[in-house]
């Protein structure tokens, strides 16, 4: 068995062989040519400016390749000329739907280098805001899933219910999309009055939203016909391509950095479950995300009850200078593993920051997953891999 045979699923292999056979036969008989379709950079399905070059044989994809870089903003380079507190406002904009979650690993890396640890109260609130940004991010994904398949109604429900979460984030941090709230050694502010009760009510609404999506979308026969058995990524392939987050868990790998890593955060203080799915198809990826949103609401609920009292900032100097050294911290962000490798030379700003964003690696499996599928499946597979363009082109 050759490597290609082992890597391709049965269905995809057959489809590929059939397409090759059809190609050679038709080429002799009718002289049909393939067609190269440029999906993007400006296209409704690409959530921004991703370009996918697809070689088509009729409606079937012979090969497809994502081409990124149309929105490259050079954050790694920009970070080198900023001070540490300024970098948070940059990294906010990497995964723009779950901004707060981007700040946390960078701040944790800086804290690790400085040997500072945030007080227990701010660790708790950080975790809550982290999970809220995950909910805001993934709930929009769940709604958008329908749009990719022509069901336009769920997305409006998603926007409506995400608004409640954004209001909460705005209430606590002052910014809806780009909170810029995390500080080295703690948080900018404490929670406002009444926020906890409000958050509990919203979590109830979000659980209802998840049930709605479960009924409306995941229970729909057409949705299942479009998603099940499509874009199967087996366990070993997922590991080889370095997938992370829900994409990896949907391939049956029980791996969650929130649980498997000991960071100064509060995830281990709540009781929750890491969901996996054995199938590895598009449906599994979406289903795992749905379950994760439910788990997140549970985490938030439990953490709200156990916020400890105490200060919210640790003792840090007014002008932050990070001692010489290198640190790597990664967390389980809404899109997958997001990490920062920070190199410090003891100056006001970092000497070098390497950003490992989840979508870039998740996208790398696309050429493999898109081979032999039909054009409509390109859209559903890309949607289920779930990328944010800012996360690909940092």
């Amino acid at each position: 068995m050759s490597l290609t045979d082992r890597l391709l699923g049965d269905r995809q292999r057959l489809a590929y062989i059939a397409s090759q056979a059809a190609d050679s036969r038709l080429n002799v008989e009718l002289e049909t040519e393939g067609m190269t379709l440029n999906i993007g950079p400006q296209h409704p399905a690409t959530h921004g400016t991703l370009r996918i070059i697809a070689r088509l044989d009729g409606e079937q994809v012979v090969w497809a390749e994502p081409s990124c870089g149309y929105m490259h903003r050079g954050y790694e380079k920009l970070a080198e000329v900023r001070t540490y507190p300024q970098v948070t406002s940059l990294v906010n904009r990497i995964d723009w739907l779950g901004s707060f979650a981007n700040e946390v690993p960078f701040i944790l890396a800086a804290e690790k280098l400085m040997g500072v640890e945030a007080p227990a109260r701010s660790q708790h609130i950080r975790t809550i805001l982290f999970e809220l940004s995950r909910i805001a991010n993934v709930s929009l994904f769940l709604g958008d899933l329908g749009v990719q398949m022509g069901a336009i109604t769920p997305v409006f429900f998603a926007f409506r219910d995400r608004e409640y979460v954004l209001n909460l984030i705005e209430g606590a941090t002052g910014g809806r999309f780009h909170p810029n709230f995390d500080r080295i050694g703690g948080l900018k502010d404490d929670l406002p009055k009444g926020w906890i009760a409000e958050t509990k009510a919203v979590m109830k609404k979000l659980r209802k939203f998840c049930d709605q999506i479960d009924d409306l979308l995941f229970g729909n026969e057409i949705f299942q016909a479009r998603m099940r058995g499509i874009g199967v990524i087996p366990r070993d392939v997922a590991l080889q391509y370095g997938l992370s987050g829900a994409n990896l868990r949907a391939s049956g790998v029980d791996w969650d950095l929130r649980r498997d890593q000991s960071l100064p955060m509060a995830w281990n203080k709540a009781d929750w479950k890491v969901w996996t799915h054995p199938d590895g198809d598009s449906y599994a990826r979406c289903w795992v995300r749905l379950q994760e949103t439910r788990e997140s609401t549970k985490i938030v609920d439990q953490l709200l009850d156990t916020i400890p009292s105490g200060p919210i900032m640790a003792k840090v100097p007014k002008i932050i200078k990070v001692p010489e050294g290198e640190a790597w911290v990664s967390t389980e962000n809404p899109l997958g593993e997001m990490g920062y490798y920070v190199v410090s030379r003891g100056e006001l700003g970092p000497f070098r920051v390497k950003i490992r964003s989840a979508s870039f690696n998740n996208m790398s499996v696309a050429p493999w997953a898109l081979r032999g599928v039909y054009v409509p499946d390109i859209v559903t597979i890309l949607a289920s891999l779930y990328f944010i363009l800012g996360d690909i082109d940092r």
Binding site: P44, V147, M149, T153, I222, R226, V375
Partner: protein, 351 residues
């Protein structure tokens, strides 16, 4: 000479009336459908308000939109085939107008009344495929081409179950004249009970369901909107159109929905008529004259009901993939409709 409200109408007057009536019968339903269903019902289903600014309750929104479209530049892509490109929306809209010509709205309120009405309607409705293929091919755009080809494949696949579903009705009514089909339904009886007439919705339920699915596909509404598929093909065959040519496609889409709903109501819901037993009528000549006014209103009501179902499905379901869609037509709908024809003919012969 025809009498309308006790007025003698000369032949040229009748022709003029019918032409005006045809335009009204296409444009009025299209506008109503767009406002009531596309703007308002869809918005309420999606927990928003829809247009509220233009006119009371947003009722003039459509006028504003048409005004906007008419002002836009009529762009023809450089590498497009300009003549075909410009003709395509006209062909699509023409098929709608041709289709409405055979729909009867009352005992005398019809545009043409000829024997092979059903045959004509089904034949003319497939003219729009030609327009769509023209648009897809002439745009010189790969998305348009894919959309046009998908549309052609889909419309041809769903034409067949649609025709086969109608055959059940033709067998029961023993005529292909749409006017006669209306009369046969309203003058008919179900097992001796004539209080409801015999709307074929009841006796041809299978045919009705197949017909509804087929027109959903024929109108390229979700879950069969593969040719337009805005998330993958941008806008399918309409991608390159702008201004009033896009408007024509837009009107064509909703006007065709209205006209297909009219034909459905004629074939399955008893058309313009009320059960004749209520007023003691026996055939079309004994129907009283006021039905020429009431008939269109009844038709309009039935049309709105059917379009409501079409739009309801459209707004609440994701779309099929091309191969699933073809499989559904060829492996499910066609065998079921053939079975329906067989059972209908057996009943017709036996009873």
């Amino acid at each position: 000479m025809m009498q309308v409200l006790a007025l003698e109408v000369p032949y040229w007057g009748q022709s003029l009336l019918r032409v005006l009536g045809g335009i009204v019968a296409v444009l009025l339903p299209a506008g109503t459908i767009v406002y009531v269903f596309l703007f308002k019902m869809m918005s309420f289903m999606q927990s928003r308000l829809g247009p509220m600014e233009a006119g009371p309750y947003g009722s003039l929104q459509l006028v504003a939109e048409v005004g906007k479209w008419l002002q836009k530049e009529d762009i023809v892509p450089e590498r497009a085939d300009p003549r075909i490109f410009k003709m395509a929306p006209i062909v699509v809209l023409a098929s709608t107008f041709l289709l409405v010509a055979v729909v009867p709205f009352g005992p005398d309120a019809w545009f043409t009344n000829f024997e092979a009405g059903v045959f004509y309607a089904l034949a003319v409705s497939s003219l729009s495929v030609l327009g769509i293929l023209m648009a897809g091919w002439a745009s010189a755009n790969k998305y348009s081409l894919l959309g046009g080809l998908r549309a052609a494949g889909q419309l041809i696949a769903y034409e067949l179950p649609m025709v086969l579903a109608v055959i059940g009705v033709i067998i029961q009514a023993e005529t292909m004249n749409l006017q006669q089909i209306v009369v046969a339904q309203n003058a008919g009886e179900i097992f001796g009970f004539s209080g409801l007439g015999n709307p074929y919705l009841i006796t041809q339920l299978v045919g009705f369901v197949i017909f509804m699915i087929a027109i959903q596909a024929e109108l390229t509404q979700a879950p069969f909107d593969m040719p337009i598929a805005e998330s993958e093909l941008v806008s399918g065959y309409m991608t390159e159109y702008s201004g009033f040519r896009f408007l024509m496609f837009f009107i064509g889409e909703f006007a065709t929905a209205g006209v297909f709903a009219l034909i459905t109501s004629v074939l399955f819901l008893g058309g313009w008529g009320v059960p004749f037993a209520w007023f003691g009528w026996t055939d079309v000549d004994s129907v009283s004259n006021w039905m020429n006014i009431v008939g269109p209103i009844i038709m309009f009501t039935k049309m709105m009901l059917i379009v409501f179902i079409i739009m309801w499905v459209r707004f609440s379901s994701p779309r099929f993939r091309e191969d699933q869609l073809q499989r559904f037509a060829w492996k499910v709908l066609i065998p079921v409709s053939l079975g329906n024809i067989a059972i209908t003919s057996i009943f017709k012969v036996v009873m």
